[in-house]
């Protein structure tokens, strides 16, 4: 057997390092902020720890390590007292900055009475926390963009859901390059697809047509679905905003879809998705809410199918890709920047990479042009070339 043959006949191994126990640097959304504004402490398992979320008297949302530095009491079982969270064990009072402010039975707070506190951001109805294993504050240019519709009356409120998934969160991020799943999961037929990775943002542009084989043609008088345009960006490791417009013959429906997650530990994460829809003269009152609810239902079905795959599949660091697959390796190279120290972020993790599939220009048109090119070259008696550098 020749070396070439053995190479082709060999069994392909699946390689996978253990999922990292370090958690990504970046903004993570914990859910709709309203949920945490009931005057009670909330318990959240994230980043391999237990956290307490509470609203202090000044209205601010705070996130601390849930375990009291005194005797280890669970602050998320405690009580909000003024601007502080009081431990249920001995009533020690902790401020949103992580410092112990008061011990009611003691005259003095001991030295080093400070616990882990996360920087929070309450924006557009969602609560975000900044996670950084190196303990640095968020850089000024690493932000979550504002979502205009979230605070406007002519848009619906968020329709929001969450599910716990028993898999490493890299699985959901991989979706950003998965063109084929639009066809199978979202019943959409992409005519244009593009990924751009640059800096801390990973974007997916998509234009698609509705699939007539799964979506029955509109009845007389009903709006006819023509297709959709989607611009979806991960702003950091875990928060994706999808600016999604559905095109109908008589109107466009504008919506914003959130797809975000936070890790519980290296083997599970909480997947969340939210939808808002813009009202218009064609989509008034309850119709907009119904559309948002319908979209959320549709997304839920898609994710249910994904979850079924994720929880049974194996982790794979060396996927065997065909030419029709998206840029999985390049996405993971981008994603790795969030798992190393800032000083160790390499240029190739953040330098711009583009992957484009444009089916709007038929292959026949390309081939015709190549033939014309060859014919032209033949006519002038040379080989086709670009600025003299012959092929």
């Amino acid at each position: 057997m020749t070396a070439v043959e053995s190479e082709h006949d060999g069994v392909r191994g699946i390689e996978a390092e253990a999922a990292p126990t370090r958690f990504a640097r970046g903004w993570h959304c914990l859910g709709l902020s309203e949920r945490f504004k009931d005057g009670k402490p909330h318990s959240i398992k994230a980043f391999g720890q237990k956290l307490v979320v509470f609203q202090s008297g000044d209205g601010k949302l705070n996130v601390l390590d849930a375990y009291c530095r005194h005797m280890g009491g669970d602050l998320s079982q405690g009580t909000v007292k003024g601007d502080e969270i009081a431990c249920p064990f001995h009533d020690w009072r902790w401020g949103g900055d992580g410092r112990c402010k008061q011990i009611p039975y003691s005259r003095r707070v001991p030295l080093r009475a400070r616990t882990a506190a996360w920087t929070t951001l309450d924006q557009d109805g969602m609560l975000f926390i900044w996670n950084d294993p190196e303990g640095n504050p968020p850089p000024a240019d690493v932000t979550i963009p504002r979502i205009e519709g979230a605070t406007r009356d002519d848009w619906t409120d968020w329709v929001w859901s969450e599910i716990t998934v028993d898999a490493n969160c890299r699985e959901v991020v991989d979706n950003v390059v998965d063109m084929a799943h639009f066809f199978y999961v979202h019943f959409s037929f992409p005519t244009f697809f593009k990924n751009v990775f640059e800096g801390h943002v990973a974007t997916q542009y998509q234009k698609g047509k509705g699939r007539e084989d799964v979506r029955p043609p509109a009845k007389d008088g009903e709006p006819k679905m023509l297709g959709n345009t989607s611009v979806a960006s991960y702003h950091g490791p875990s928060f994706m905003i999808d600016d999604l417009t559905y095109h109908y013959d008589v109107m466009d429906i504008d919506s914003v879809l959130i797809n975000c997650h936070y890790p519980i530990d290296e083997n599970s994460f909480v997947l969340q998705y939210g939808v808002i829809v813009q009202r218009s003269d064609k989509l008034q009152g309850d119709a907009a809410e119904q559309t948002a609810a319908k979209m959320a239902e549709f997304i839920a079905k898609g994710f249910e199918q994904d979850v079924q795959i994720w929880k049974n599949k194996t982790r794979i660091d060396n996927p065997l890709l065909c030419e029709e697959d998206g840029p999985v390796y390049q996405l993971r190279r981008w994603y790795e920047q969030f798992y190393v120290d800032v000083a160790d972020v390499r240029p190739e993790m953040v330098e711009r990479f583009e992957y484009e599939l444009d089916t709007t220009r038929p292959i026949e048109a390309w081939k015709r042009e190549v033939e014309d090119n060859l014919a032209r070259a033949k006519a002038v008696g040379g080989v086709p070339s670009l600025d003299g550098g012959a092929a």
Binding site: E17, K194, V196, A232, C322, V383
Partner: protein
Amino acid sequence: MTARQDNRLTDGAPMLPVRCLQCGAGVQARKASWQQTSVQWSVEAAGACLERRASAPRGGPNGEAFLACEALRESIRQAALDGMIPVPDN
């Protein structure tokens, strides 16, 4: 969790240098088919791109991201038509 090499780049065509006919920025490009194009930019190329410098953010929450340089797209198209970027038959 170091990202590995794409098997398509080691077993198939590699990324090849292309220069933008407009601004001269040098990028690496590859085509998996007539309809598919990959482009690897460097910081220098992104800094040299005229269209990028002239671009304004589009609307919407993701409007900051720069979609494409048309001059570079045209340059890669030309390189493919001229046989400088191989395009697999399919």
